[in-house]
Amino acid sequence: MGFEETVRTHAADLYRYAYWLARDPAQAEDIVQEALLRGWRAFPRLRERAAAKAWLFSIVRNEYLRALGSAPPAAESLDGLDLPDERPELFGLEMRDALAALPVSYAEPLALQVLGGFSCAEIADMIGATEGATMTRLTRARQALRRLVTPKDRKAGPA
């Protein structure tokens, strides 16, 4: 598959991944454009064409980090992270709003897993974390989302 066809196949998911990193449609578009420019120049040297999808997602991630100029907030810390699922006033959110309330370091592995279809090991490799830490982030992200989308009338404990 040539580069143009690869782009056609993956552009939508690359955009969605960039969106969940940047949380801004215009910035997501810029990130993907810049990543594809970089990808286009390097594509002839990509030995394993089957790995093109993971390779493009990684380039998008690097472009996001370059645009950000810093690490995503709390990317390294799990224990001190302020997940929003302990804030009952947020309960009852629609799933997309609940995702937007998650820190990038939790939403990103989810996007890679669900949108990209990558395995835990592949995600760990892409985000520079251990497989165990990646699995913990995926689990905690889903736990948080399940709490956040709980209807408000079910948030209270026993009377």
Binding site: R41, R66, G69, S70
Partner: protein, 218 residues
């Protein structure tokens, strides 16, 4: 397998293993959890699929076609205009310039993840070699961090210029003359001499790299 392990693995979204399936078939509570999680996953997938701008994939693909045409036209023009000498310079793979490209490919993300220096520290660290204010006249400085590079401590800088993003490696201990160049994996690097030390400039667009190099060289 116990219920706790089953639910933990279910929440990681890694798919149901044979052992999990055997447990689910024997445990009504985990079977109910499996059903609920299935519905949750459908909602999650749908929510992650934010709307993509109309015609985005086609626009991106067409941009690649346009790039290829422009590249071929520019390459042909450059070959004619530059002659053999200019082409030989561009084709040269200088080891220091290649090391700058390798840094971008292998180390840059790590450096960014580790976080940038506070502005005051960056200002003091860069001052003897390439003043921060001088960089800010060329573009917006997004990141500065010291890094081990080529047997010395260099400074990794991410600079946003109007035409895009470039990476700089400010090398206080590398004294050289002239200008060096390399191209690898779709990245171009120029290394130019400063009054004290030198700076490597890496980016995807040769014209932007050369323009920043020209603006920074001593």
């Amino acid at each position: 397998m116990i219920c706790l392990d089953y639910r933990r693995q279910l929440l990681a979204g890694t798919g149901e293993t044979d052992a999990m399936r055997v447990h689910r078939l024997q445990c009504a509570s985990c079977a109910a959890e499996w059903t609920e999680q299935g519905a949750f996953e459908d909602t999650l997938r749908e929510a992650l699929q934010v709307p993509v701008p109309a015609g985005f994939a086609e626009r991106m693909a067409q941009a690649q076609v346009a790039r290829r045409r422009t590249f071929l036209a520019v390459a042909a023009t450059a070959l004619v205009a530059a002659g053999a000498g200019g082409y030989a310079w561009l084709a040269r793979q200088d080891p220091l310039a290649l090391a700058c490209i390798d840094f971008v490919m292998k180390e840059e993300a790590k450096s960014i993840m580790l976080g940038a220096m506070p502005r005051a520290e960056a200002q003091a660290a860069l001052a003897p070699t390439l003043a921060l204010e001088r960089l800010e006249r060329v573009g917006e400085v997004k990141h500065v961090r010291p890094c081990p590079f080529n047997g010395q401590t260099a400074y990794h800088v991410v600079l946003a210029v109007p035409q895009g993003m470039v990476t700089l490696l400010v090398m206080p201990a590398t004294r050289m003359t002239g200008r060096r160049h390399a191209t690898k994996e779709g990245l171009h690097a120029d290394v130019v001499a400063l009054e004290r030390g030198s700076v490597g400039i890496v980016g995807t667009d040769l014209a932007v790299v050369m323009s920043v190099a020209g603006a920074l060289r001593a």
